[in-house]
Every structure is written in structure tokens, then in C-alpha cells.
């Protein structure tokens, strides 16, 4: 027996190693197109921006961006708007996701159609639709004046509210989908068990649903917050230049001033801050969930 195993083990190992190599090689081949695409369209331009921002080996562009208050104020406002959008998406999205996950299949199909419809429409079209709704002579003002509720049209467009409204509309599905998926993974007997053990509906929500959907909430919050930080079209159109977000400043530097080095520095700052936010959100969750 020992002889037999001594003789055969190396052969088995060699075969296993060959198998492993084949698997890895196969996986690499399959991901190669995606890797090349990322390298060409993402890593290279990013590296170029990075290089531009440190042009001449000095940190002058970073010094300009981080001192003087203007750009840090805009960065803070960008964070503020992203946070408000995320909060609105969570408050609106959680109940929707919950209903979708717990309703009958027929209603679920209808509900999903309404949730997904915006995703199939261009951001530009949706943003213009909001302009039609919110404008000085827009549908809402028309209704308000015609019904005699107001004398003068309300200034709704070109405000932070309009920007938040438009962004929430765009981002809502990204909050709903991960939470929906988390709710559907909960064993339907768990809330029943909790009820039978004496929990009120509210206690079931806080002690069963909330902790068990935390992963979905964090995924949705991360997605919405991080993507919101880099929003450009919606705030540009609905804010009418009055609501500046960081991505708009970067675009301005390139298009109006051809200040590539400074735009590079601003981009790197936005990227760094976004990654930091992403990391912090995930750290918090990892600690909460204990893994």
C-alpha cells in the first residue's frame, strides 16, 4: 500500500497541476477581450491624466485645486448632492423593492416594467422631460396657474431640487435592484416565525428584514453614491449652470480653458475621494457583518 501510493502520488499531482494550468489558461483567454478593452479605454487614459496632473514633477495643480476654497467647496457640494440623492433613493427605493419582492408574480412583472423603463431611455431624454415638466412655462407651472393655486410661475428649474429630482430618477433602479435581490433571499418563514414568537410588524421590519437586507442596502447605497459623485449631464441641464458639480468643473477646465494639467489633477482628486468613499462604506459593512 505505501509503495503504491508513493508511486502514484506524484503522477496524480502532475495531472492535477496540468488541469489547474489548463483551467487558468482557459479563463485568461476568455477574459482577454475585456482586459484589453479596459486597458485601452480606461487604464491608459487614466494613466495619461495622472501623468498630466503631475506635469513637470510639481504639485502646483493639486495645490491650486485644494487651496483657495473654490474647488473644495464644489467638491463638498458634490458630496452633499450625492448624499441627498442616495438618501432619497433609499427612502423611495426600499419600499418599492420590498413590494416587488413580496407581491404576486403578475404585479411583480408590472412593477419591474416601471422600474426598468427609465433604464431603457437615454439620460438626455429623461433630463429634457424634466425640463418640460419643471420649466417656467412647463406643465407643472401651467397646471398650478390654470387651477389658480399660484399667480406667478414657480422657479423650479435651475435649482438644487431640480438636480436632485433628476438624479434620483436616474439612480433609483440601482438602489431598487440590489435591495430587491436581498429581500428575495430571505426565507419567507423567518418573518412568520418572528410574528409567531411575539414580534409586531414593526419589530419584524427592524429585527429581521433590516439586518438581513443590509448587504443589499449597502450595495445600493454604494452604487448610487459613487455614481452620483461623477454625474454630469443631469446637473448641467437641470441646474442651468447654477448648481456646479465636480465633473462639470473638470469639463469646464478642458473645454473652456484647455487646462489639461489642472483637469487631470481635479480628476485624480475626484477619483481618490470616490475610492475612499467606496472603501469606507465597505469597511463599515464588513465590520457590521463580521466577515
Amino acid at each position: 500500500m505505501p509503495l503504491w501510493s508513493a508511486a502514484s502520488t506524484p503522477r496524480l499531482d502532475a495531472a492535477a497541476a496540468a488541469g489547474r494550468f489548463r483551467v487558468e489558461f482557459g479563463a485568461l483567454t476568455l477574459t482577454l477581450p475585456a482586459l484589453l478593452l479596459l486597458l485601452g479605454l480606461f487604464v491608459l487614459p487614466l494613466g495619461r491624466l495622472f501623468a498630466l496632473s503631475f506635469a513637470g514633477g510639481s504639485l502646483e495643480w493639486y495645490a491650486k485645486a485644494l487651496t483657495g476654497g473654490l474647488y473644495t467647496t464644489i467638491l463638498l457640494r458634490t458630496f452633499e448632492i450625492a448624499a441627498i440623492v442616495t438618501l432619497c433613493c433609499l427612502v423611495i427605493g426600499y419600499p418599492v423593492a420590498f413590494l416587488l419582492a413580496t407581491t404576486t408574480p403578475a404585479w411583480r412583472a408590472i412593477g419591474f416594467a416601471f422600474v426598468m423603463l427609465p433604464l431603457w431611455t437615454s439620460v438626455l431624454v429623461r433630463t429634457y422631460a424634466w425640463m418640460v415638466l419643471l420649466g417656467r412655462n412647463g406643465i407643472i407651472n401651467r397646471l398650478l396657474i390654470d387651477s389658480g393655486l399660484t399667480e406667478q410661475p414657480l422657479a423650479m428649474l435651475n435649482s438644487k431640487m431640480a438636480v436632485v429630482l433628476g438624479m434620483v430618477h436616474v439612480m433609483l433602479p440601482f438602489m431598487i435592484l440590489p435591495i430587491y435581490s436581498a429581500v428575495t433571499r430571505i426565507d419567507p418563514d423567518l418573518p412568520k416565525a418572528a410574528r409567531g414568537l411575539g414580534a409586531s410588524t414593526l419589530r419584524v421590519a427592524t429585527s429581521i428584514y433590516l439586518p438581513l437586507t443590509l448587504r443589499g442596502i449597502v450595495a445600493g447605497v454604494t452604487l448610487v453614491f459613487v455614481v452620483s459623485l461623477g454625474f454630469y449631464i443631469t446637473p448641467a441641464l437641470l441646474g442651468g449652470g447654477k448648481v456646479l458639480m465636480f465633473a462639470m468643473v473638470i469639463e469646464q477646465q478642458v473645454r473652456e480653458f484647455l487646462a489639461w494639467n489642472f483637469a487631470g489633477a481635479l480628476s485624480v482628486i475626484l477619483l481618490a475621494v470616490t475610492l475612499l468613499a467606496f472603501w469606507l462604506l465597505n469597511q463599515g459593512v464588513a465590520r457590521r457583518l463580521g466577515d
Binding site: 412568520k192 409567531g196 411575539g198 414580534a199 438581513l212
Partner: protein, 374 residues
Amino acid sequence: MSDHPARPATAQAGRLDIEGVSKTFGDVVALADVDLGIAAGEFVTILGPSGSGKTTLLKVIAGFETADSGSIRVDGSDVTDLDPALRNIGMVFQNYALFPHLSVARNVGYPLAMRGLAKGEIAKRVGEALEMVELGGMAERLPKQLSGGQQQRVALARATVFQPRLLLLDEPFGALDRKLRDQMQLEVRRLQRRLGLTTLFITHDQEEALIMSDRVAVMAKGRLQQVGPPLEIYEAPANPFIADFIGESNIFSGTIEARGDGVLSVGLAGGLSIQVPSRLDLAARVGQRAKVMVRPERFVDLNVGGAPATVNRIDGLVAESAYIGVSDKYRFATAAGLNVLVRLPSGPMSRRYRPGEAIAAGFHAADARLIEVD
């Protein structure tokens, strides 16, 4: 929320009365006029095939489903429309339904926390409950870190720690292997006796039902077919469905040929005639069709020397044979094509038959039961 109305009542007698409960889902009748009374401290099993409505009945009692009509009363008070959180009924779910994000201790303490008990009191009672199910050292584990049997015990501790008036068990042993299941059956019964808990147990496993229960209620198509002690259910099934569903059985159809003193003579195919005890509760006249049940293990091998003289005898040729361990199982056919299933005790003294061999099986009149006359 702390002054919860479901604070454990000290008097937990737990008499359960189910009266005229019906429930339909669309066109499907899940429960049809179910009546069942369970005495305080009694262990009653609802036994039925899947789709018989037994789980629906359990859900109606727990409050997770609303009955279309009828009432549920616990200790005389009507709970039919009561919020499930206020019913004070412990339940063990089929898949245990342990909260995956809470430790064993917090799972067991959950019903106590919902009743607003003080932390110290919760810790004390959780400790006692875990000791009772022999999981003292597992308090800080998560459910997924436990084996199936241990999860089962946690579910049991959680369902009993708040001194419920009633314990409901929904096929709790389905996921356990046979050995563990046998052990848990005994353990649940011991725990139930110790706590004096009125218990309603649901299963489709007839052996489990017979082993565990004070009384068994057989259910099919939303109706209770028969309610009685295990012995009665097995020995005196009320109808052919129960005879067939509980254990193995031969059901012979024939015509009543003669009536004697407490005995009927029933003619089967091929001129064969068997003696069967008549029933006071089942009127039978000569010429009527009747169904007779004989359990396979009640047959004796008449070819073996020293076999007792039996009044009934069936001859045939062995079609199939199987060695089960405790017995030999044969299916044989008479010349007229009547199929008979018999189990003969296996042992060094017993004779074994191969397919094609002639066999003669006998049974006493008392081992046959008239189950239907029409």
C-alpha cells in the same frame, strides 16, 4: 412595545378546540369543516399525504392563514382573529426558520425580548432552555455553524422558552437522517411530557405518527378521516384510504355470503371464502359487496411444522420475495389472480421461498377487518 400584551401567562393549560374550520384557495379545498379537540398536555399528530391540508390547518392555528369559516379556541378563548404575535403559540418550522444573523442565544431569547423581559431574566431563561436541549456550550454560535440536529434543538428551545400555551411542530424531522430522527422523536416526546405542553405535530410519516402520539388524526383532501389512539388507527382503520395509507395492507374485495354469530363469511375471487369479524357500527347483509383488510405481518406460514391452526387459508405461488432483515416479504398470487402481500418472521427456523414456489398463508378471523360495505 415593551408592555407587550403577549407576556407569558403563568397558567398554560392549553386546551385547543378547532371547530368547523374551512379554507379554500381558489377552487382548491384545503380544509373542509375540520373539528378537533385536543386536551391540555396531549400530543396529537396530524397525519396525511402532502396536499392533504395539514400544513394549512397548522397555519390557521398559528394565525398565518385566516380560515374562511369556523373557529379556533385556546383554553376557551377565541383566537380565530387574533394577531399571531399575541397568540402565545410556539412553532417549529419544517426548515427550523432560525434567524441566520442572530446567535443561538439571541434566537432563543427572541420571544422573550419581544415580550420586553429584562436582560438578566432573558439570559437566565435562555441558559435554562439551552441546558434543557443540551446545547449549553453553543450559545454564541450562529445557526449555520450547527448541525441539522443541533439547529432542530435550537428551534425547539426557541419555541418553548416563553412557556407557550401550545406547541406546533411542522414536519420538523424531515431533513434529518434516520438515526438522528429516531433520537429526536424520543427527545421531543420527553421534553413535551416534562413541560406538559399541548402539542400538535404534523407529519406524512405514519411510523413517526404511531410512535410519538397520544392520538393520531388522519387527514386527506382537507378532511379528518379518523381520530384515535395509534393502536386504533392501525388495527381498526375507518376506511380503505386509512387502511392503505397507514402501514402495509391487503385489501380484499368480495361478497358477503353468510352471517354467523359475530362473524361474516366473505367470498373472494376463485371460490375462496374467508371468515371476518362483523362490526356493530357497520351493517352488512348477505349479498353486499365488502372490503376486508389483512395486515401482511398477521399471516402465518402453514407449511412450517407447528403452525397454529387458522380459520382462513390462502394458497398461491410466490411472485416476488424480498429479505427485509426483521422479516421476509412475499407477494404471491392465487390461481384466480388474487394478489397477497405477506411478511413472515425471518430467522434460522423459518423457511424461505423463491419465486414460483407454492406457499400457503393463513390468518385468524380476528386479524381481518371489515372496512367497507356497499
